[in-house]
Point group: C2
Chain length 382, copies 2
C-alpha cells in the first residue's frame, strides 16, 4: 500500500476530490495541493487523457510530473463505481470537476445527489461557458476561452506591422485562469461554511468558466469599445518590442537624452501616452546602439524596470529563481531527475521545498491506499 508522506501548509486539513481531466480542474487542484491539501484524483481506466500530451520519457508524460504532483491517483469508472465516488464525496470538503456542463447530473452525481451524502461539500464546477446560458452545452477548449473572452483580439502587433492574424497567448491561459478562479471561489465557500457562517454548514456550488475568466480581465474596455483598446494595447506592444534586441552594438553615453527628462510634454502618464510614438522612437534609437545586457545594466542603474525576454532555459539558470527555489530539482522515478516550478504562493514559516511532496504518480498509484485505508472498503469487494 502506497501511503503518502504527510503534507504541511495552510490547507493540510482540506480534503479535495478531483473529477477532472486535461487542464483547468487539475491545475486548480495542483495549486491546492501545493498549499498542502489532500487531493484525490479520480481517473478513468486509461488515465486522464492529458497524460498522452507532450513529451514522454519511457511512456511517462513529463507535464504530469508537475500537473499531478502531490495528488493521490485512483482509477474509477464514474458510471460503474458511482457508489465509491459517493463514499469519497462523503468524506471530502471540496469536489472540483471540469466535465462538460451537465455531465455530472447525467452520471447521477449532480449537486443534489452529492449534497444528500454530504451537505457540507463545496462543489466547484469549471466549464467552457458556465452551467447555464445558451452556450452551456457547446464544447470548449482553452483556445476558445481566450478568443471569446476578448484576449486574443488584443494580443499581437500594432495595426500595419504584420498581415498575420493575432497569435495565441503561449499557454492555455483561459484554463489556467479558470483554475485559479475556481480555487478562489471554493476557498471563499469553505471559509464561509466553516468560519464566517459556521451555523449554516452549507456546501455551496461554485460555477466558473473559461470565457468569463478571461473576460474578467478586460478592465475598462467595455466602456471604451474595441478600436480604442486595440490600438492602445498593440501600440504598447510595439514599444516593448523595440526595446531589447540582443544584437546591437554598444555606444558611449553621448546618446543620453537628458532634455526629455525635463520636458514638460512628458510629465504625466497621459502625456507620455499621447506622445508614445516619439517616445518609442527615442527609446528605440538608444537601445538600438547597445547589446541587451548593457542596456539592461544601464537601465537598472537608473532604477528603470526592465527585463530581457526569458526562455525556459533562462528561467532555469537564473540566480534569483534558484535562490528563491522557484526552480527545484525533483527525483521522479518515472521520468528521472527533473525540474519543477516552485510554488507561486509562499507563506511565512513554510519552506518552498515543502510544496512539492511527490511528482505526478502513475495512474491508479494510490488505489489501495484510497479505497482500503481511507474508505475502509474490503479488498476482495473491489
Amino acid at each position: 500500500m502506497q501511503r503518502p508522506p504527510k503534507r504541511t501548509g495552510p490547507l493540510a486539513q482540506l480534503k479535495v476530490l478531483e473529477l477532472g481531466h486535461y487542464i483547468a480542474a487539475p491545475f486548480c487542484t495542483r495549486i491546492l495541493g501545493d498549499l498542502g491539501a489532500e487531493v484525490i484524483k479520480v481517473e478513468p481506466p486509461g488515465g486522464d487523457p492529458v497524460r498522452g500530451w507532450g513529451a514522454q520519457v519511457n511512456g511517462n508524460p513529463v507535464w504530469f510530473s508537475v500537473h499531478g504532483r502531490n495528488k493521490l491517483s485512483v482509477v474509477l469508472d464514474l458510471k460503474r463505481d458511482r457508489d465509491v465516488v459517493l463514499k469519497l464525496a462523503a468524506r471530502a470538503d471540496v469536489l472540483v470537476e471540469n466535465l462538460r456542463a451537465g455531465q455530472l447530473e447525467r452520471l447521477g452525481l449532480g449537486p443534489e445527489v452529492l449534497h444528500a451524502v454530504n451537505a457540507r461539500l463545496v462543489i466547484a464546477r469549471i466549464s467552457g461557458y458556465g452551467q447555464d446560458g445558451p452556450y452551456r452545452d457547446k464544447p470548449a477548449f482553452g483556445a476558445i476561452g481566450e478568443a471569446m473572452g476578448g484576449l486574443r483580439h488584443l494580443t499581437g502587433h500594432p495595426p500595419g506591422a504584420s498581415a498575420l492574424p493575432p497569435p495565441r497567448c503561449g499557454l492555455s491561459i483561459s484554463d489556467d485562469l479558470a483554475g485559479l478562479y475556481a480555487a478562489i471561489g471554493l476557498l471563499a465557500a469553505v471559509w464561509e461554511r466553516d468560519a464566517a457562517k459556521a451555523g449554516t454548514c452549507r456546501g455551496r456550488v461554485v460555477d466558473v468558466n473559461l470565457v468569463d475568466s478571461v473576460f474578467s480581465l478586460m478592465e475598462g474596455m467595455l466602456h471604451c469599445g474595441a478600436d480604442q483598446h486595440l490600438s492602445l494595447r498593440r501600440r504598447q506592444v510595439a514599444l516593448h518590442c523595440r526595446q531589447f534586441r540582443p544584437d546591437f552594438r554598444a555606444a558611449d553615453d553621448g546618446d543620453r537624452r537628458p532634455e526629455l527628462a525635463g520636458d514638460p510634454a512628458y510629465t504625466t502618464n497621459a502625456d507620455r501616452c499621447a506622445r508614445r510614438e516619439a517616445l518609442d522612437d527615442a527609446i528605440a534609437a538608444w537601445t538600438r546602439t547597445l547589446p541587451a545586457k548593457d542596456a539592461q545594466d544601464r537601465l537598472e542603474a537608473a532604477d528603470v524596470p526592465c527585463s530581457r525576454l526569458y526562455d525556459i532555459a533562462d528561467c532555469a539558470a537564473d540566480a534569483h529563481f534558484l535562490a528563491r527555489r522557484s526552480v527545484q530539482p525533483v527525483d521522479d522515478e518515472l521520468i528521472g531527475r527533473t525540474l519543477h516550478p516552485g510554488p507561486a504562493i509562499r507563506l511565512d514559516g513554510d519552506r518552498p521545498e515543502a510544496a512539492i511532496g511527490w511528482p505526478g504518480p502513475v495512474t491508479g498509484a494510490h488505489q489501495d491506499y484510497v479505497l482500503h485505508a481511507l474508505l475502509g472498503l474490503p479488498r476482495s469487494g473491489q
Copy 2:
C-alpha cells in the same frame, strides 16, 4: 457620511485593508470585493496613480469604475497617518499590499508592527520578484513578469512566419495572475487561521510575485528545454491562426474530408501532433472556402469546439454573455451609464448582479464613514 450599501456573498464578513496601487493588489481586492468582502482602499492624497491611466470621462477614469468597484476609498498619508493605518489594520482580517519589497518596513508598517496590533492579520504581499532573493529590490512592472516568467517567449508566430519579436499578451497578465494567486494564498491562510487550526489564530504572511505567478504556468517545460516548447507552442498558434478568416467565400459540402476521420494515422493526440502540418493544411483548405459564420455553424453542428476571435464589442453584444449577466449595465455617477464585466465566480444562491455593489468611487469618497463611523475617530481630530 457615505454609508455603503450592505454586501452579500461568501466573503461578506471578511474585512480587507488595501495598501495597493496600479494593478496587482487592487485587482486582488476587486475579486475579493466581488465576493462580498469589505475592502478599504487607502490612497495617497492625489489618489492611486492608476486613476490617471486610460480613457477619462470628465476627468474620471473609466477603468477605475471596474477596478475600484465595491471599495471604500479613504485618503491617508502612510507616513503621517501611520496611527490611523494601524487602527485600520487592528480591525482587519487581511491586508493586501503591493508596495515595492521592503517599503512597508521602511514606513514602520512591517509585519512585526502590524502583528503587534493584530496577531490574526493575514498579510498578503505582492511584489515584482518576491520578498527575498537577489532581485528583490529591483523595480518591476507587468511586462517584466511576463518576460521573465517565460510567457512572452512563447507568444508569437511560428518560427519563420514573421521577423517581428514576440508581442506581449494583450493585458497586464502577470499583474492579474499575481492578484489571483494572492487571493488564493490569503484565503488559504484565513481558512487555516479560522477553521483548520482555530487554536493558533496566527496571521500568516503571504508572499506572491509577478515573475513566479507567470512561471507557475510553465507546465512540463523545465524538463524539455526551450526549443521544443517554442516550436510546439508557436505551431499550435499557427494552426489556430489559420482556422478563421472572416472574408472567405462559401463552398458546398463536397469539401468534406471523411477519409481523415477514419485514417488510423490521426487516431491519438500524439498522432495528430506529429502530423500537425498536414492536418493544419487540410483544415485551412476547408475554412478558406467559407465565411467564418458558416464555418462556425458547421463545426458546431459536428460538436467541434470553435470560436471566432471576439473583440470587446462582440463580447458586449453576445447572447450568452448577456443571458448570464457577464456584461452588466451600471449607472456610474462619475462617467455615466457604462458596462461592467460580471463576476467570473458564481455561487449558487447569489445573483450575479449582487457582485457589483457600486462602481469605483472618487478618491476619499468614504473618508468620513471609515474614519468616524468605523474607527470612531473624532471629526475635529483629523
